[in-house]
Symmetry: D2
């Protein structure tokens, strides 16, 4: 049984199964129409092993704009530089985080990474910053991330793939990451200014120029909020329609404590973040389970149609 046969088979099901099938259908439609597809990536998806899937989505323009956290980019660079996130022994039996500390091993749930990966990261970032500061002094975050991607060679890197496919990467909270930290350290002695507000216009422009817009929200946090904020700010189209045309979110957070990460897509309609005629679905699931299934199913459908993902415009900003 192919993954898409499975997804189709779940169409009449309810609860998570029905929502999974609906997510595949919505994503297929996003890809079949000329839709600018924004992906919000939060959570440690890269250490969990989702990096090749995400990078391939970027490469093949299954997504057109990436909004993510600094941590995700740090993880991406670390793996692109040859360091690894290892599965630890069974997390329940792991026991002693103090022992890990003594070994120079850092834990992310059931994954570990060595301290030295961060040393390699620092060295790499410093070399990129040096290169950048030779050219000009001021960059916006998106430009900084492009420069980093240009210095990576790993095909499975999200940032490298983004450069190749001309997919812009935004990271509004970059200060809250090792990239931000090292940018700041570099700035103490070198000439490098990163303007945290300057790429807001780029993202709004991408939204306004799109024929149709879609959001794929993995986890919540800043990436979800930033995409939705952009949808909220962008002026309505001709005809008066406002907000995203498509939205799917995969999250383990439920709405009951009122946080944005678990907020329903219905709620987003009251703000105008999601359009009144939009198609949307929330899938309450660990994204490391749901994403591979959805992407495999959608890829199968697109291959059957013998089409590649349609994009409404050249998105990359020079």
């Amino acid at each position: 049984m192919s993954v898409d046969e499975l997804a189709v088979g779940l169409r009449d099901c309810a609860f998570g199964a029905g929502r999974l099938a609906k997510a595949v259908d919505i994503y297929e439609e996003m890809l079949s129409e000329e839709t600018t597809k924004f992906i919000g990536i939060a959570g440690a998806l890269v250490p969990a092993g989702m990096r090749p899937i995400l990078a391939e989505m970027v490469r093949d323009r299954y997504v057109d704009v990436v909004v993510t956290t600094g941590a995700t980019l740090v993880h991406d660079i670390i793996e692109a530089l040859g360091d690894s996130h290892y599965m630890s022994a069974d997390v329940d039996g792991l026991g002693n985080d103090l022992w890990l500390r003594q070994q120079g091993i850092d834990r992310i749930y059931d994954i570990v990474v060595h301290d030295e990966a961060f040393a390699h990261l620092e060295e790499f970032l410093r070399s990129v910053f040096e290169e950048l500061s030779c050219e000009r002094e001021s960059y916006n975050i998106r430009e900084l991330l492009t420069a980093i991607g240009e210095n990576l060679t790993d095909r499975n890197s999200i940032l490298r793939s983004a450069v190749e496919s001309e997919v812009p990467v935004f990271c509004p909270a970059i200060a809250d990451s090792m990239i931000g930290l090292h940018a700041w350290i570099y700035k103490q002695t070198g000439d490098l200014t990163v303007d945290a507000f300057a790429d807001m216009r780029e993202l709004i422009d991408l939204f306004c120029e799109a024929k149709r817009t879609g959001a794929i929200i993995l986890g919540g946090g800043v990436p979800k909020n930033f995409i939705f904020q952009t949808a909220l700010i962008a002026p309505p189209r001709e005809g008066g329609e406002e907000g995203l045309d498509y939205a799917m979110q995969i999250t383990t957070k439920t709405p009951e404590d009122g946080s944005l990460s678990g907020a329903s897509l219905e709620e987003a309609k009251s703000w105008g973040k999601i359009g009144s005629k939009s198609k949307s679905v929330t899938l309450y699931c660990d994204a490391t389970i749901a994403l591979p299934v959805i992407v495999a199913a959608v890829r199968e459908r697109m291959a059957r149609k013998n089409v590649t993902a349609k994009n409404s415009l050249s998105l990359y900003i020079d």
Copy 2:
């Protein structure tokens, strides 16, 4: 991409993805060894559309013993009698449960069922009870459920499939269901006694006679507890090994509030419910998403090996 290719591809992943892959591997091993496989089914999986998958697992002896809730059996019978659980319109927009009440429609999250389905259920159960009380007066629950299954004709029924495949079905909390209610009503005028304790021995015997034992826990509740209680009570094997040899649970409940439904399988080892050398995995996921993926992947592997599921003994009790 086939579902098993997907599952194999997730083997090196962490978080839910890695656990999904591990669940497939454990289930494959359970099926390849002579393992008596106990399944605990809680939650509204049948209305959600999982009934054909569960019935097929029973028919093909992917499971050997079923422990479930009264509600699951009620749902199974309702569908076997030709009534349906419909997907309601989007649950978030459903709005008015009082309106549904006036229409005689009952809601289970994003599913609805008509009141008349329960009238058909009542009629059917009464006819079965009448038949039963002609033969003898006293039954244990497992026998009662066998008799119900014998009176159903729907191939996709779990109870019907259980009869055909000689898979015993246990339901310790049957009083807490419409089946229990109608059994009690019938008893007021007819001769029918259902002994709630009498099939405890049968379940223990099944455990003791098994070469190896495995549990597949969907949700928690009474089915999980009853299977684990049996594992706890059963005497150790020759060699001193005690508890289940394999266990996988798929649950949306996490351990932090101390309830059994979310309790870890590690914790179960402290009780001796799970063996010290067992293989086990907990997958935190909506079972309607994870179960179809796991079963499809395992079926693919078994088909490739060209073997059917191995069972250690004829389990059905006469």
Copy 3:
């Protein structure tokens, strides 16, 4: 600041805080009106330390009918017999459940209990059963639990308090517990029959005879379902009103996977389990946090009014 001052201060708050305040208000109203108050107790609340609060609620008729799991009663008896559930060292550092197994220590999340507690339980139950089987052969579950309560002397026991306050205790899934197990073992040689269906009528009668009905649902599982099933079956009152008049549930389960434990009280209205004019609230919270706060606040209000809880009828069945 008193606990009720805190609760009153949260009245204008939203999310969990607002729901907590509403729960206190609803409970106060339940107690001020002549309401038959059914409590459903699931989860390991007794080992967690909620036993004195629950026993006091029973003693002072803050609840009139108890529906619970076998595990809760086992925990209650174990503590009444002088054994203890100890807080273990920090659960995250606990590490080795296999080591606990070797020590004869059983873990419930961050609590442990010694194996010998279960030996004392067995001895005690056997003596009760012997006594019972001298009198007559057949008991319903409620009667069995009364007999157990009569043999306990600990004031903080739920079962003992229930006897003293004439609060009936129901446990439909008793087979799924050590009490059920030992009843069955005893039955192999002695004369003791426990009819699992026989107390269904008692519960329905309690519901029908009530002026007003209220449910306090702690966790979900069988206790929630059994109380709601009773509300569903009970004929409408004069005037046509059906279902519970008040309902509050405290649960960590959310509705998204469709299980009954997380089902909303709105959904219950579509079934007629909860009345169309009812007052109800769902509080998504660990009951060990919310229950002490709510009970302390309500007790303060009742003390201020200088009234004890009103009960509509003598509930105890002889």
Copy 4:
């Protein structure tokens, strides 16, 4: 019963109750020692009604450094300007978010706010930015937020209270908020530069200068990560001890999907974010429930001791 009597009464309890009691004890110790207390605030706590509690914590130096989201600050300013977040009718019956959209009403779970509140916000921010750009061109985020706080008069405002108590407020992801948006819009025509990296040093300095450090994490997201990142970067003290001395987090996210928001504090020890001899507790609970209880209990204890919160140094940066 006073709130602290309740908290003390839960000390021997397990699960959430025990953790609540432990959180009170740890917070008391933080306040009794000379501890620099960092609070991370994520989630819609202000609309939920937690603003007066949070503002009072700031005013009385129950916290010394605030790290929060742009949304929290937007909510704080909106209320300080006289607009309100209203409790909506019961969220489950709310139904139609499209209708809300037409009315110009925006929903946050069970709360609503009028569109015009955002117009008032815009007007206010513009006036602050104009004032600022007269003085000098470049500000870091902490300075920007101080300036905003100086222009508010509402005693219950977090930002106003922070100014009065010399508590610095950090918001690394301010670009992801209406404040960031309006700062960017203003910048198009006026002279205002906000440097997103410039206050990293200030936060690190606050950490380094502290005798002891404690973190109170409400929700997860960027505030949690930024505080922990600072703890990670800061050099070890004399004696070699590194990381936070105290940490308590109140979160509804559990660790199983590997995201930082749900990550355990044990895990943080492997990174050195939390010290090896630290005292820490994670409370899995809606913060709108747990925070008022904890703060009321701790205030009671401090009042009994007749001491105010001790602070190790004047934290405010000029």
